[in-house]
Point group: C2
Chain length 430, copies 2
Amino acid sequence: MDPRTGMPRVGMVGGGQLARMTQQAAIGLGQTLRVLAVSADDSAALVTPELEIGIHTDLVALRSFAQGCEVVTFDHEHVPTEHIRTLASEGHAMYPGADALEHAQDKGVMRRKLRAMGLPVPPFSVIPADANSELTHKATEEFAAAHGWPVVLKTCRGGYDGRGVWILKDSAHAAAVLTHLGSAGDLLVETLVPLDRELAAVVARSPFGQAAAWPVVETVQQQGICVEVIAPAQNLDDARAVAAQELALSIAASLGVVGVLAVELFEVAPSAQFPGGLVINELAMRPHNSGHWSIDGAITSQFEQHLRAVLDYPLGKTDAVFPVMVMGNVIGGSLDSPGAGMGMDERIHHLAARFPAVKVHLYGKSFRPGRKLGHVNVGGSDLAVTRRTAQLAALWLSDGVWGDGYAIHGPADDASDSPQHQRGTDRGAR
Amino acid sequence: MDPRTGMPRVGMVGGGQLARMTQQAAIGLGQTLRVLAVSADDSAALVTPELEIGIHTDLVALRSFAQGCEVVTFDHEHVPTEHIRTLASEGHAMYPGADALEHAQDKGVMRRKLRAMGLPVPPFSVIPADANSELTHKATEEFAAAHGWPVVLKTCRGGYDGRGVWILKDSAHAAAVLTHLGSAGDLLVETLVPLDRELAAVVARSPFGQAAAWPVVETVQQQGICVEVIAPAQNLDDARAVAAQELALSIAASLGVVGVLAVELFEVAPSAQFPGGLVINELAMRPHNSGHWSIDGAITSQFEQHLRAVLDYPLGKTDAVFPVMVMGNVIGGSLDSPGAGMGMDERIHHLAARFPAVKVHLYGKSFRPGRKLGHVNVGGSDLAVTRRTAQLAALWLSDGVWGDGYAIHGPADDASDSPQHQRGTDRGAR
């Protein structure tokens, strides 16, 4: 316990945006998040005084960090499970535990476990790391012979945001990819599932065994990166929504997850193979991009809930506050964009002028094309308006360009003339 | 600008809970709040890495602090205006400025200005600091002779939460208080206004002159300390609500306020003297207790809005998210309370079990009877239920006692058996 406040000290390994937003939630709970970051410039390192610098693969650094914490949790899935086991055996509370976390670290382990649980996963095969590219090609061809081309090839470990995933359309394509793959560890080959859309069921679970689920959301990806989340997923059959929540809760319970668990799902046409119309794609055991809407859109955000869960506090209500909320990711745009020269401070200024109800969440990162720099949340009652606003806002912050040609110096299109919002007479020139 | 992020550095003088909650808002905007605190254990000092230790009356410390900031603002009203003027003259952006801030620092200056503006204030008289207690008594009696006993005596400077305010029922009472008062600077004597209830109109204004008002709220005080805020104020006449907002906006514009301005009001029976049924009590030029509900209950919180205002960003929407939200202050209870031995960590645990929708905001302060330790926000649609929940939650965190005799080990009275909230089978013993 922090002797100054009597409150528990939660440590998060990794200094990314998830830790940054967890610090916001920690402040409300009377805490200060402790962060083990690689650099003092990391997203979360910029916003907490309880910072240690160290690498998440260094057991000595992890141990030193854990000694100052009541509970240690993770901003990412890259902490070696052997280190987590070692520290747990030394008496440190490490959540999620290694037995659970390996299912989020290794797609082969995850697929085998979920198949054993009888949950809907595509047919797959794991190709061990020691296979050379010729043997791997042979295994891929055998899998395709049984299930048909195209097939999906994934690295079992380390992939994210579309990296480490290839859709192989035929044998020649497979050969070309595998030749350039080099040593990528175990590989997973599975069938390509024809999907209607992607969903995510996000839940949290405490050591006590209490669990809570947020409304199921729709996630929209571009080039393997999540660009948009619609909460709740629109026109989703009630029974299927409950099935998705129950599926995520059952995974959390079976794997002994502690903290937030995001289950990425494909919604498909119901078939003999997938009678429920759901297929599990990936698992993440931490706050997840598909839950960012909850900061502004749910009674309890995923960041507060993650803290409550790892501290074994009773969990908070997960009800949505708005009829619909849309989250748009802010992803560094092209350096050739006409708006590329405009800094984020100026972009926010113009965004605020045009859309005073948009909630901005920036991660304190320097600009780089393709980098997740932040996100926006927009709540509303009309899906089309809400979604359009979120898309325009996210594009503007990403590229410095209004997607609809809006002129910066024009009048704000949703300004209000009511007494609640008025301009004074001394506005001066800008 | 912070070279690491390209974002502005806002500095807040004072390390209290207002700065703490402003840091939460700053994180979302991609910033890190810089804080000048008296101690490294101050509420806000615990949650930001951008900390300087120094006293707010020390010009050298203020100057050094200001040099690292694009804008300097305040957690409290105790920074000497001459220091603010000096630093402004040296080119630092200090918001609110000294000309505005002195109206929140000195009740005599405030009363004179508002009377000159034709705004509803009670009859008053300012007794200069150089009057001895006998002369002060004489001035008080003269005022009472004209306006009748009882009268309200206030120190013009430094009072808060009921300190520095006395209701004098007659001449003998006045003599007794004045004898013990010592040198308290200028004094304000004014009539006691028979009030129906207290309201607050909270607005924000930017240097550009844009202003925005939140819904008018009702504030409930006990022994001069705000214990509860109901947002929006219930059964408030629409025209009177708009009048209260316009009054606050006009004060903000006339005084050139930059940042949040809270106008504490009395609602009274309309009379020839106060035809609008409103009387101005106090001003605060910073985020204010009466706006804490906005963190969970408005599109834009007062803390984010204060940052937007002092940075001259366009202001955010101020609409309420819930039909009603009740804020309850958590104020350290008696050491004789049966729950006094229970730490805040354990109190939160039990609170979360009983009321999973209550939002907790703790300030990281050690326990002391009478000390503001935090607040709770509860949103809902039924006033009675929402208010009762907030009162029970605030009392529980304050005193470690359930006001309704609820048994801690009993079943939670608003737990849900829906799939959204379920308990696993491995709950084990606690």
